[in-house]
Amino acid sequence: MSPLFSAAISATLACYALAMALATLRLLRGPTAQDRVLALDFLYVNGMLVMLALGIRYASGMYFVAALVVAMFGFVGSAALAKFLLRGEVIE
């Protein structure tokens, strides 16, 4: 792995980290509850992207499975929270 490639992956991870920090700011500040759910969903997607970048960094296929699991649980969590905001309960 050339040093330039390694630096590019590090820069990408820094971009993801900055995006997650901004989303955390929105999560803490968000005026309404739906803003917080939106920020949490964005955090999940970014965590999945971090997993994909780490998989390339370490040339390992296991990170792909982690990314898949993060994406799936992110959807379940966001959908459950949105359903809760809509109806006041998750499973009726």
């Binding site: 939106l38 994406a71 959807f75 905001l85």
Partner: protein
């Protein structure tokens, strides 16, 4: 698996990854800057679609070069997000509309006739 991929593969993967990172950052900045919730719903779609496509494409290119065959399984993530992201978005939009109407805030009117 031991041989390092050629330089041009690394360049393509690096460009795709950097594009993914910049797009994701753009989505976060938009989500922080826009004023109303319905405007703020849009920028995260950038991370859901383009950023994820770029990252998955980079993974496909890199692992295909490592294994010397076509490796397509990272595209499963793109398919999964394409199915799940609209569901989350529609549920969240309906929840926001419902809550806005309940507290009497300014909200888009219902469609003519039916609710």
């Amino acid at each position: 698996m031991t041989a390092a991929p050629p330089a041009w593969i690394e360049i393509v993967v690096a460009v795709l990854l950097l594009a993914s990172g910049v797009l994701s950052l753009l989505g976060a900045v938009g989500m922080l800057q826009l004023r109303s919730f319905f405007q703020r719903m849009h920028p995260p779609a950038l991370a859901n679609t383009l950023a994820t496509w770029c990252a998955a494409l980079a993974t496909i290119v890199y692992f295909s070069a490592l294994a010397a065959t076509l490796v397509l399984y990272p595209w499963v993530i793109v398919i999964l997000l394409a199915i799940t992201a609209p569901v989350t978005t529609v549920l969240l939009a309906r929840a926001a509309l419902f809550r806005k109407r309940q507290i009497g805030a300014e909200a888009p009117p219902p469609l003519s006739g039916k609710t």
